[in-house]
Symmetry: C2
Subunit: 312 residues, 2 copies
């Protein structure tokens, strides 16, 4: 974090652009939020319209900051999919509709401010590692479990990006060779077994009735046998995936976030036990629930923008 | 690399201590080898005797350097197992018999030189990434396949160590939930299916006759059906493991080393094809054979020692 002088009135404009909504905020250098707002993404309008909304919302936030006597110093934007952070390009964001959009340049030009573009889960991981549940640890794996599953490996506050902006795709590691087909085209990916959508799909298959992952968790807790079975299968596969993550990354702390983590102890307790069983010679990581909820991405976008200022 | 002045006569004493033998050398700052020698480890004598041999060999190499008019400036030692590089401690090296041996301090005191301790595969990865087959790439995964399987994730010439010195344990990721039991105690680890020892074991199981992994490779190449099946199973599981590595690390180049890589194209060609099949949305890494053979660990120990000098 940048510690400004007393009475520091600098703020960063931060946007986390998702498939359904945008979480937006003015964030102070110490990570505290001056103002937050949300907007629909309405991705069906096409990528050009979404980009225009991003630019308009960012511009509006910068104006609001100035009107309140603050000084906007940078803008950070987070998007899902494949993100080339070095080039500032949203390479491929399926659910937002972006394909090679030079978003950093567009935002920078519109606002007249330095800008940074990041991957939603990676910047969420940066936020959880620096400000959230991983605060005490140097080596953190943030795992977001929602419609999909993705991770960010954060060491000393920086997230690994990889050679092509695609590091941390823990949703697409093999856990069940004979398992269901994944949206990516392979069979047995973690995401195809343990994501919120996979849990709902599996329950529908077995029960012949639709239910959300949260419903399945609730029914499992209430003692429904079928729901319990579906939940256990998802937790076991997730533990296999986390054990693989630990073998390769060797972290201190794993922070579990995303929609499925709202199940709290009902997810974390059996997951911790199942991970423990799988640790042989490895040091077992601390397994904790994310602390920042769905604001992690927006806060992380702000941190990324602040980092980019420090490097200038 | 440290580029010394013309006529630079500095050398580093480097030792790679394995379960059976030690590869030792005097290495110049540009990575060239002034002198190399090998010694048996004879681990059966117990850890104290092995440590004494390490110290005697290192001291002898430093003396030899001075006698030849060179100036030994540092000593690097590589060992297998779990290595705390920050503390300079060989935490756990099963096949050498080390348990919490403060090897860096011992070597430094005996030689009166700055010393560095590294993990054999991680420093081998550093050497392959900087001097060997990964020279052109910034993001490299070095995978050593021999009796066991381990990896080093090297970015910009530095290997990830992890929170407890145990990063890169790709041999112990799940690839076959219904597969054979691994030496680590779990079922279905990559090492239990695709290591040289696993290939030999599987062939013995099916054929009722003993053969080394190299024999199996040879018989498969000669058209023996059973050997071909065992080899294919190992290659398929290895491709699953590498695909998981790519999902999590997202590298440019994978460098395949260790004993099994001596099979050359017979391993690399089908492995490349099998990995290609498994890439969906990911960028496919370049898959190449290691270039430094069994000298990688010794060269990497020298590089680690040189790096530690630069940081002083």
């Amino acid at each position: 974090m940048t510690d400004g002088p007393p009475g520091d009135d600098r703020v960063v404009v931060a946007l986390d652009v998702g498939g359904t909504g945008m979480k937006c905020a003015l964030v102070r250098p110490d990570g505290s939020v001056l103002h937050a707002e949300r907007h629909p993404t309405d991705a069906g309008r096409g990528p050009d319209a979404v980009v225009e909304t991003v630019l308009a919302v960012a511009g509006g936030l910068a104006d609001r900051a100035r009107a309140a006597g603050s000084i906007p110093v940078a803008c950070g934007v987070a998007v899902p999919g494949v993100v080339d952070e070095a080039a500032g390009v949203a390479v491929w964001s399926a659910n937002v509709g972006f394909r090679n959009v030079p978003l950093r340049e567009l935002v920078g030009a519109r606002l007249g401010l330095p800008a940074a573009l990041g991957h939603d889960v990676r910047v969420g991981g940066i936020a959880e590692a620096r400000l959230g549940a991983g605060r005490a640890a140097r080596h953190v794996l943030f795992v977001a479990i929602g419609t999909g599953i993705a991770a960010a490996h954060v060491v000393a506050g920086s997230a690994a990006v990889g050679a092509h902006g695609a590091a941390g795709e823990i949703g697409h590691i093999l856990v069940r060779p004979d398992g269901p087909r994944c949206g990516c085209g392979r069979t047995g990916c973690l995401e195809a077994v343990s994501s919120a959508s996979a849990v709902a799909r599996r329950y529908a298959e077995l029960a012949g009735a639709t239910a959300s992952a949260a419903d399945v968790a609730g029914r499992a807790a209430a003692g429904e046998e079928l729901a319990g079975r579906v939940w256990r299968e998802a937790v076991e596969a997730l533990a296999d995936g986390l054990a693989t993550g630990q073998a390769l990354y060797d972290v201190d702390t794993m922070v579990i976030g995303g929609g499925l983590a709202r199940a709290g102890g009902q997810l974390l307790d059996p997951l911790r036990a199942a991970l423990h069983e799988r640790m042989t010679f490895h040091r077992e990581p601390r397994l904790v629930a994310a602390a920042l909820g769905d604001e992690a991405g927006c806060l992380g976008a702000a941190l990324l923008a602040l980092d980019s200022l420090e490097r200038r």
